[in-house]
Amino acid sequence: MDSKVLINEEQFELILDRLAHQLLEHHDFSNTDLIGLQPRGIRVARRLQVKLSELLEGKEIRCGELDATFHRDDLMMRDKPITPQANKMDFLVNNRNVILVDDVFFTGRTIRAGLDALLAYGRPKKVELAVLIDRRFSRELPIEPTYIGKQIDSIGEQHVIVEWKEDGGSDRVLLFNSKPE
């Protein structure tokens, strides 16, 4: 399968470091929570949580895992049902600043569903969006990320896959010309 490395391991680490510092420019994390979107956004959120905690000298940062499956707008149109992932939200977000985190930002529909799902846990003061990869020029809804790891140009049929050390490989981002097996 033809693929191209968009981000290698070294760049990957730099991007996450930069994202963490950008978040710190705007938040002291006394009233801010990270929430990763299932399934892959939680990886980004957990890494940012560790980095931020180090930068803030061990401060504890809350990080939730949110699954937006039940709030998607295409559930009944699909041939097969989507298997839901686990929600791990052990706190409420009333009056908190929330940073939603995902790996690849594409049409904006997952984030729309995520915003909807988030409201079941209270009314946040402010919601921002941090993404590792922004596939720009492919929006279907008027939603834009607040913090961006890297912007890339791609067309609809292409697939962007983020690989993680935790899964046995190395940290990198690949672009495929069609959906990989």
């Binding site: 039940f70 559930l75 009944m76 041939d79 097969k80 839901p84």
Partner: protein, 311 residues
């Protein structure tokens, strides 16, 4: 796997182990939804469900209705006692009339075994069996096995489950036996000989008439309700001499449990006859899973409808 191998939920007999595992996984996620401050998700907001109850039911109907509301589906309710069924309309006509009003899914309870199977061949819609006579009650078996997994661990392989009481009149028993066997558990039925059908062992289950010995054998016990309304009329021969005698032989009491050197998970599909098949102190005790079953009932019915709803 993200798809069920079935198009309708008619009985556990048509299902595979993978189907059950997928439903369990989805049920866990819906259970989390039910414990959120806002317990409603919009997943089935473009679906209309008809609940057709040709036989009385309180908890199953409530549980289905709540599950549908939590999924944002639109619902219409129908009960045979207040309908044209009394005027002689056939089942297929009744259902086709309701479907003509653009209903996408039918949840049906019917006194005749096989009624939902028959209907699934005659009409074009998704059918969920909420109990057909003394045949099957698949969602009850799903919630029972889900509750057992919460208590005994995710793998029921080799676990020993006893189903005690009125097996003869119980759709819960048959669906539970099939579901437990799919999951690899060993099943034993226990009750007076008159309440156990003749060829029970053909299903691959053990048969016992000794509750005390069965309790020693089992890891969990499902106490079925004595269906007093099905024990025959005043002139027929009863299945057991008296309720008191039934309780002495097959009622679960604290004295019986005190004789064991282990803890049993105790299930009951409800409604409970307190003091008959189970004593109050056990029904309300710490090893009783009865109220977990009710909570899991809503979550598992949400999962079933979520997985079967397609346009």
């Amino acid at each position: 796997m993200s798809e069920l191998s079935i198009k309708h939920l008619l009985g556990i007999r048509d299902m595979t182990r993978d189907d059950l595992e997928l439903i369990f996984k989805t049920t866990s996620e819906f259970k989390e939804v039910l414990n959120r401050p806002i317990k409603k998700v919009p997943s089935l907001r473009d679906l209309t469900v008809a609940n057709l109850f040709f036989e009385n039911s309180t908890r199953t109907r409530l549980s289905f209705e709540l599950a549908q509301k939590r999924l944002s589906a639109d619902i219409v309710n129908f009960s045979a006692s207040s309908s044209s069924v009394k005027k002689g309309e056939t089942l297929v006509d009744t259902v086709n009339n309701i479907l003509a009003m653009k209903v996408d899914m039918v949840v049906m309870r019917h006194p005749h075994p096989g009624a939902p199977h028959f209907l699934s061949k005659k009409v074009k819609t998704t059918i969920i069996n909420a109990g057909d006579g003394t045949h099957e009650h698949p969602t009850q078996a799903i919630l029972d096995t889900f509750s057992l997994r919460e208590k005994l661990g995710d793998d029921l392989e080799g676990k020993r489950i006893a189903i005690v009481g009125d097996i003869r009149h119980s759709r819960v028993a048959i669906s539970n036996i099939l579901a437990l066997q799919l999951l690899g558990a060993t099943v034993r039925v226990c009750g007076p000989a008159t309440l156990i059908p003749k060829h029970m062992s053909d299903l691959g289950v053990e048969v016992s008439h000794d509750l005390d010995e069965t309790l020693i054998w089992a890891d969990a016990v499902n106490m079925l309700r004595i269906q007093l309304e099905r024990q025959g009329g005043p002139n027929s021969i009863a299945f057991f001499p008296s309720i008191r005698e039934y309780t002495i032989g097959f009622g679960l009491t604290q004295q019986r449990l005190d004789k064991l050197d282990k803890q049993l998970a105790i299930l009951h599909p409800g409604p409970i006859n307190r003091g008959v098949e189970i004593s109050s102190e056990i029904a309300d005790g710490e090893h009783s899973v009865i109220l977990d079953q009710v909570e899991n009932g809503v979550a598992s019915r949400m999962a079933v409808m979520y997985l079967l709803a397609r346009q």
